[in-house]
């Protein structure tokens, strides 16, 4: 230090003045604008050619001076994410403010009192541009608990070249699909060509597949009055049909252990006629070097003869705010920014394998030029249905999984499996409501 040192008393007085000035400045700032805050955003890493998240977060910070966003990665496994959230949110941990969560957890977390009610900020009009199925999954008990961020829908892929060769049109019923499969396989005479692939492993994906058959048969897992399996005979017919696909050799026996990737690969290698999967698979079928490039068509989930029009099950992720967040205002702003038009557009344009929840983007000329199948997916997502929107969803799903699986592998008859599922569910849910 240069210059003569001032007397200590003076230093102390100056320091006190400085502190006072700082404190006043702090108060003044709070009155003028938000005090500096750091938001923690928990989300899974965005997979794709480039990660648009850092750019989006910096843009948000520019628009909200004084707010810094730190993003903390989650694993991609849905179960591990759920476990992480349960432990931290149940422990009333304020260590993160904004969270990305699977659509099926929204009512559960809301009921648990872990999410901030977004209703005071988010109006119905703000939700209107999102797909109805996504909005339905974001609301519970008449309140808004999350903003839809990205979306998934069950679709049927078919080999357009094979269908054309036999003069067939994409089927609208499962019965027609089965018939076409039998005809094409007989005509091709290729032992290595499988018929229809779907996910029959004992896991969440199986529930999606079964629900789609239920809906196509005109019934549901949870009735409108929250009754479990309201129409057992139709549900039984749907399960019997699924089991029949395996028994009749239209689906290979191993679909009872198939998940998304196990079923996606053989179809991608040109070794199946139909595949029930999600939109992400299309990007892989159409990439350079793919054996099925330019030969894949997309169809809606079929219905069942004498049942109803088919509908795909929806999935995806929503954004919500931790109720324990100390910066609710800023956190809500971040959620609204990320679920906003420009952020969803940026995510879609970056070519990540996630599909936006905003309907307008599916007809945006710039996006459609890069991803020509967007308008097709728009129609499928518009017709899609969410899995039962209830806080008990995971209990429901994990209880029926072993029963559905038992029916598919023939350990139980479909009617027995459904009766067992129903008894167990009524016992578990009955004591709670």
């Amino acid at each position: 230090m240069g210059g003569p040192a001032p007397a200590t008393g003076v230093v102390r007085r100056r320091a006190a003045l400085l502190l006072l000035a700082l404190a006043l400045a702090g108060c003044a700032e709070r009155r003028d604008g938000p005090a500096p805050v750091t938001l923690v955003f928990k989300h899974a890493k965005i997979l794709g050619p480039s990660d648009p998240m850092p750019g989006l977060l910096r843009d948000f910070e520019r628009r909200h001076p004084g707010v810094t966003v730190r993003s903390e990665p989650l694993t991609w496994t849905s179960d591990e994410q759920h476990q992480f959230y349960v432990i931290n949110l149940d422990g009333a941990s304020p260590t993160f403010d904004v969270l990305m969560l699977d659509v099926i957890w929204v009512p559960e977390f809301a009921q648990a009192g872990w999410l901030l009610d977004l209703s005071p900020w988010v109006t119905r009009e703000e939700l209107a541009p999102h797909f109805p199925a996504a909005v339905e999954a974001a609301t519970w008990g008449g309140r808004v608990w999350g903003l839809p961020w990205n979306m998934n829908v069950g679709v049927v892929y078919y080999r357009a070249d094979l269908l054309a060769k036999y003069g067939l049109h994409p089927p609208t019923t499962w019965e027609a699909l089965a018939e076409q499969t039998a005809r094409i396989r007989a005509g091709e005479g290729d032992r290595r060509l499988d018929g229809v692939l779907w996910q029959g492993k004992q896991y969440e994906g199986l529930v999606c597949n079964v629900l789609e058959h239920f809906w196509g048969s005109g019934t549901a897992l949870l009735g409108p009055d929250a009754r479990v399996l309201p129409d057992p005979s139709r549900a039984e017919a749907a399960l019997t049909f699924m089991r029949g696909l395996v028994d009749r050799g239209l689906s290979p026996g191993w679909v009872t252990a198939g998940d998304e990737e196990l079923t996606r690969r053989p179809f991608g290698d040109g070794r199946a006629v139909f595949l029930r999967s999600w939109p992400y698979a299309l990007d892989l079928f159409e990439q350079a070097g793919s054996p099925v490039r330019g030969r894949v068509g997309i169809a809606a989930l079929p219905g069942h003869a004498g049942g109803a029009t088919g509908a795909g099950a929806t999935g995806g992720f929503h954004l919500a705010v931790n109720r324990r967040s100390r910066h609710a205002e800023a956190a809500v702003a971040l959620v609204r920014y990320l679920a906003g038009e420009s952020a969803e557009r940026a995510l879609t344009a970056a070519g990540v394998a996630l599909y936006p929840t905003r309907m307008a983007l599916y007809h945006d000329p710039e996006i459609v030029r890069a991803r020509p199948s967007m308008p097709r997916f728009h129609d499928l997502m518009l017709a899609a249905r969410p899995r039962p929107v209830t806080p008990y969803y995971l209990m429901l799903s994990t209880t029926v999984q072993p029963e559905f699986s038992a029916a598919l592998v023939g350990v139980k008859t479909p009617s027995r499996a459904l009766a067992d599922a129903r008894r167990r569910l009524e016992y578990m849910l009955g004591g709670l409501r």
Partner: protein, 290 residues
């Protein structure tokens, strides 16, 4: 007691205190908490917290899913540990005889052991793939539905577990074999012992204590196995590979029945402790444990 003795005693207590406190804080406290949790009906999403006593345990007693999980856990543990011990010993004996490439063989063995079990599970997912998997190709292109057939899924998991942990047993036994002095074998030869007699009356008795240690470790690990079935089958098909740990996990973290899940956890703990106590008694008889 003299002052000196008293001082020694205090010093001793002071030295033990950090370890005792650590054990109490890290094991005893959470353990007791889980026990307390298991006596409650606690489901945060329904805002339910009430004391139910032994109700969960009573329910488990008549819960077919629980008894199925007990059976699966015991079959998995028994079969995989038995196979691991036999194969591990055979591999160790083979390694001892091997002249060329022993280091390479050891490295390959370690590789299987070092892989995280989730990676192993993913590996086997492809090996077991019904149409493209190596296992079915090696079996002459037969379309065995390994993970989707209720009678094949559990054996499939056992094979995967054996592949993954057999090297652990093999290395333990191999290390023991290296320390057997050659004089012992020379003496056996002088006594006119053939190969079989050498194996059964010299090698095996000398390896036996280490096998018991391996047995203890492997049994306790296998009872708590989780990753393999969780990744490969998710407990399916039809619940035929759902172990107690998977059932507990589903109840705890997926359906958030914290009290009910804790009760399953306590049962697992009781089983593990009972088996560990049995083994320790056996080891004590061997003079291997204090």
């Amino acid at each position: 007691m003299t002052a000196r003795q008293r001082a020694d005693r205090l010093a001793g207590l002071a030295f033990v205190a950090p370890a005792a406190l650590t054990v109490a804080g890290l094991a005893l406290y959470p353990g007791l908490w889980v026990l307390w949790l298991s006596l409650q009906q606690r489901i945060p999403i329904f805002g339910i917290t009430r004391f139910v006593g032994l109700e969960h345990y009573a329910f488990l007693g008549s819960d077919p899913r629980f008894w199925n999980a007990v059976r699966v856990t015991l079959v998995f543990t028994g079969a995989s540990v038995a196979l691991e011990l036999v194969l591990g010993l055979v591999v160790a004996l083979a390694l001892q005889r091997q002249q060329v490439g022993r280091r390479l063989a050891l490295s390959l063995l370690l590789l299987a052991w070092a892989l995280p079990s989730v990676v192993t599970a993913k590996l086997f997912e492809w090996l077991y793939h019904p149409s493209a998997g190596l296992v079915n190709v090696l079996l002459g292109g037969r379309a065995f539905n390994w993970l989707g057939d209720p009678s094949l899924a559990l054996p499939g998991l056992i094979v995967a577990d054996v592949w993954r942990t057999m090297p652990f047993v093999a290395l333990l036994c191999y290390a023991r074999l290296l320390t057997i002095p050659p004089e012992v074998y020379e003496a056996a030869r002088v006594d006119g012992a053939g190969r079989l007699a050498t194996l059964t009356s010299v090698t095996l008795p000398l390896v036996r204590p280490i096998l018991l240690v391996a047995l203890l470790f492997r049994t306790l690990d296998a009872l708590r196995a989780f990753d393999l079935m969780y990744v490969l089958t998710g407990g399916g098909p039809a619940g035929t590979t759902e172990t107690l740990t998977v059932y507990a996990y589903r109840s705890l973290f997926q359906t958030l029945q914290l009290g009910f899940g804790a009760a399953i956890g306590v049962v697992i703990f009781a089983i593990v402790m009972a088996i560990a106590a049995g083994y320790l008694r056996a080891l004590r008889r061997e003079g291997l444990a204090a």
